[in-house]
Symmetry: C2
DNA sequence: GTCTATAACTCGATAGAC
DNA sequence: GTCTATCGAGTTATAGAC
């Protein structure tokens, strides 16, 4: 953890035991996954005994599921608001990129956690973790079609536009260590580089979608 | 594994025991990671006994390292050739996107494997897995600068151009299940969507970088 | 609610027969 | 080389005192 901004995972000193356990589990599961995180380590970080984990959460599996649900449910409303917003299109894209990059840079482990969970345990994910209501991109697609009809955007498939934008927002943060190596940047330089992303992605996207 | 194309991981029926173990380990480690893959499962898939794994590879750790090295070393030459090529710039970009997407769609688990490994065990990665010579992007950067000077590209930071392109090539395949859900596509539709990426990314990129 | 102690289990690793 | 049997370390989970 070398970011200057703190992640969105609160860990107040004064919380209840149950909450402290949950926060510790949150941090470790998101970083290390279900197999990688150990109950002992979670207990240590929460400042309590291993037995209490079972007292409050019954099993590792159950604790993990609650954490996973919380991670998903915390991210969804933000994304939903961004993607379903009825703001004027150009503003919407700008806000989308700014907020999305902000979100990911505050929570660099979350996208990787979700992707890994989805790859390794798709059944559990669909049945017990994924909420009923997800962000619906139809608003975004309709807006793109309208802008194309008005001649404000070049003709293109809206799905690919969305995936392109999201890819450029998320991937560099997920692949930060890889990018650091290939570009030959030190710790300070990679952070500067990532800080430039908001500007660079917006510029890139608007050039790509304007007619 | 629902791709129509087979991954680049060969598993011939007639190979030696050592090779069969290696192939089984390759498949399982890449999909499940070091902690997630079990020696028993590797043995089962290779059609031999657990004890033989240790006979040939001494320990799980050593087997894993060999697999990880193989994965990296198989990917690097392709990427290196693409990024260091001295082809005319526009051809180079075209080839880069086509081959990169082809590579990732054949090996959808590899980027996630590398990223996860790099996040969880950076020390081992740098000391024992990463080869001495990596793809050097300096050629690419110089070409971008030259094209800008000639007026063939708009002024931009070459690093961000590269990261944008790579993001759009890799991320959709890594996040395939997530994209499938959000876009509401069935198995056939998501594959069609991913097959369109070569065309769509090229179009998007050229619009974004032309002056 | 919280702790200590320990049971129960998983899994990597080894011994030894063939 | 390959197998069966088993050990031993590390982990999850529980029992029971306070």
């Amino acid at each position: 953890m070398d970011n200057t901004t703190m992640p969105d995972n609160p860990s107040r000193e004064s919380d209840s035991t149950e909450q402290r356990i949950f926060d510790a589990a949150h941090e470790l599961f998101v970083q290390k996954g279900l197999d990688g995180a150990k109950m002992q380590e979670i207990a240590d970080r929460a400042g309590i005994n291993k037995a209490l984990l079972h007292y409050y959460y019954r099993s590792k599996e159950k604790l993990y599921e609650q954490v996973a649900r919380a991670v998903i449910n915390r991210a969804i409303p933000v994304v939903q608001e961004l993607i379903e917003s009825e703001d004027p299109f150009e503003e919407k894209i700008t806000r989308f990129i700014d907020f999305y990059i902000e979100l990911v840079s505050r929570n660099p482990f979350v996208p990787l956690f979700v992707i890994t969970e989805l790859n390794k345990h798709p059944d559990r994910f669909f049945e017990t973790i994924l909420p009923k209501h997800l962000p619906k991109p139809q608003v975004f697609f309709r807006q793109v079609e309208e802008e194309i009809a008005r001649g404000n955007l070049r003709p293109m498939k809206p799905q690919h536009a969305l995936v392109n934008i999201v890819s450029m927002c998320i991937f560099p943060f997920v692949a930060k260590p890889m990018i650091r190596i290939v570009l030959g940047l030190d710790q300070a330089e990679i952070n500067t580089f990532l800080a430039e992303r908001k500007t660079e992605v917006k510029e890139f996207v608007f050039r790509a979608i304007k007619p």
